[in-house]
């Protein structure tokens, strides 16, 4: 009789698993969501995710709000790149009502969206650095994010939840100060960002830490609905800006950086390179900025100038109708997507002609790809799991809606 037969060994092992709560308020999750990990020592055996801690029922609220008031909801999806969400929503409505906005407004939007993409990627990559022990880069990059927010503030008055742009264009033209700030940024940022790149991209300690961790194959990534930098890191060159260009993206020359292995390092590098591509796009947009107006001729949706409201009857009527959400929209259903900071951000809108959407669904990239997380971290160390999460750039606001 052998007391160490297979069965008893198995039982002993099972007792040694520990349960570890990663979250909901863990500093390394960078947001409020929970992972209950089953650990064998330092190796993750299983993970169960709990999400919904900041669910705010945006889709329900959207059914009760006029179209222009939904913009503020989209701010709060991926709050690291709110302008992209705002623009995506405006374009969805513009497509529904069949408005073509002037080229100038489209270029202005492109500049804003690419600045937002840079700030989104900056935060993500800086945080990947922090989680691997390199805090210094983060403290420097955050200053550059502040500069981008200064530009947003100059354009629309807000920094984080921007509510930038309007249905039919932008609320106002770029002032000289905006151009000055953008040019300063374009001039100074590459130097600062190169410093960060030099610090990490080929740093032996960093590369050893992030290469081959949290890898996912292209096939699995597609099945899990990955989009954006995370999908491109796995080697699939899908980018909404190129596949279905919106807002004149077809006018710009830029490359789609891709990775090979889909690991944390590839995701980091893809974001690094996308920042350079975004800079290229902004330069082209500035150089080729078309003349014209920054809004389309849709008085039913676009607020008239305030001085007209005080002096002209027609402007006053439209002002009232826009503010009260009193404009009829066509019936129909529409899907529009933009390339958000984290991937394909889609808006599925069913309109019954009323002043609020009949149904509005947000395709939130974070929500869809975060379900792959347990598969990506099983069998890896806890410290790798933290890095995998920060390189996925899961934003709680987008996750929970």
């Amino acid at each position: 009789m052998n007391e160490f037969d297979d069965k008893s060994v198995e039982q002993i092992e099972e007792q040694e698993y520990t349960t570890l709560n990663l979250g909901p308020t863990h500093p390394a999750t960078h947001g409020i969501f929970q992972n209950v990990l089953t650990m064998d020592g330092e190796i993750i055996v299983d993970a169960v995710q709990t999400i919904g801690y900041i669910h705010r029922a945006f889709e329900k609220i959207a059914e009760h709000r006029p179209y222009n008031q939904i913009t503020t909801l989209t701010d709060r999806l991926n709050y690291c790149s709110s302008p992209i969400n705002n623009m995506g929503w405006h374009m969805t409505v513009e497509k529904l009502i069949g408005v073509e906005i002037p080229k100038r407004a489209q270029y202005m939007r492109v500049i804003i969206m690419e600045l937002a993409r840079i700030s989104d990627h900056l935060v993500c990559n800086a945080v990947v650095g922090v989680d691997s022990g390199a805090l210094t880069g983060f403290t420097y990059l955050f200053q550059w994010r502040e500069k981008i927010y200064d530009i947003f503030e100059q354009i629309c008055g807000a920094r984080l939840t921007t509510n930038i742009g309007r249905i039919g264009g932008l609320e106002r033209d770029f002032s000289d100060e905006v151009y000055k700030k953008i040019k300063e940024f374009l001039h100074d940022f590459p130097k600062g960002f190169t410093e960060f790149s030099n610090l990490l991209e080929r740093n032996r300690i960093f590369v050893d830490r992030v290469a081959n961790t949290g890898a996912i194959s292209a096939e699995r990534a597609l099945s899990f609905g990955f989009t954006g930098p995370n999908l491109r890191a796995a080697g699939v060159d899908y980018d909404v800006r190129v596949m279905t260009p919106y807002s004149s993206y077809q006018d710009f020359e830029f490359a789609i950086p891709i990775g090979e292995k889909g690991d944390t390092y590839d995701r980091f590098i893809v974001r690094q390179n996308e920042i350079w591509e975004s800079l290229k796009i902004i330069r082209q947009a500035l150089d080729n900025m078309p003349q014209g107006k920054w809004y389309a001729d849709v008085p039913e949706f676009y607020l008239p100038p305030k001085e007209d409201v005080y002096t002209k009857m027609e402007a006053l009527i439209y002002h009232f109708k826009v503010v009260m959400g009193e404009t009829d929209v066509p019936k129909g259903e529409i899907y529009h997507s933009v390339e958000g900071g984290n991937g394909e951000l889609g808006f599925y809108l069913i309109s019954d002609g009323g002043r609020a959407p009949f149904r509005l669904h947000f395709r939130r990239p974070s929500f869809i790809y975060y379900q792959a997380y347990p598969e990506m971290i099983k069998g890896s160390m806890l410290s790798d799991a933290i890095l995998t999460m920060s390189s996925l750039n899961v934003i709680a606001g987008e996750l929970d809606a």
């Binding site: 329900k60 609220i61 597609l222 009949f358 669904h361």
Partner: protein, 168 residues
């Protein structure tokens, strides 16, 4: 190979599934098929495996509710995308409120898993064969499905947003 127009694809699917394809239209240039719920899974599976159309990507799954349509109160909407051909297709299936059941597509696309849970959480639509159909965004103890139209958003005493004040 003929060009993959919406008309061509719709015709091809019709040839395969016949009467179960209830209607085909293209609102805002996206091919939209209304299919019988019993074959929704079959259509998606067929599109995924079709060598010509090559739908590898499930963009989105969501629900909707149309309380006025008798016997077709709930709708499940799938957005599919062929990355090779850059074609998007929308599949819609209407199901009755008395029996809101439809087959899961989480066996075809992993990404459907949470999206179907979300749809269940919001509308109470049951996805048959789903590995873990539980609430995802709302608390487990919730005893209703909040996105259904019968549940008001705001407290009923609020009157400042009523339609009668706007001449309707």
């Amino acid at each position: 190979m003929s060009e993959l127009t919406n008309v061509y694809i719709a015709e091809k699917i019709r040839n395969q599934f016949g009467e179960a394809i209830l209607s085909a239209s293209e609102p805002y240039d996206m091919l939209t098929l209304v299919v019988n719920p019993s074959i929704a899974h079959g259509v998606i599976n067929w599109l995924k495996n079709d060598a010509e159309i090559k739908i590898q990507f499930l963009t989105d799954v969501c629900g909707a509710q149309f309380p006025e349509i008798d016997g077709q109160e709930f709708c499940v909407i799938y957005h599919l995308h062929s990355l090779t051909n850059n074609i998007r297709i929308r599949i819609k299936s209407f199901i009755p409120a008395s029996n809101p059941i439809i087959a899961t597509v989480s066996d075809l696309f992993e990404s459907a898993n949470w999206q179907e849970r979300e749809t269940y959480d919001f509308y109470g639509i049951i996805f048959e064969g789903h590995p873990n159909l539980t609430r995802i965004l709302n608390v487990d103890e919730m005893d209703y499905f909040p996105l259904r139209k019968e549940y008001p958003l705001e407290d009923g005493t609020r009157t400042d947003k009523e339609d009668k004040y706007f001449g309707r």
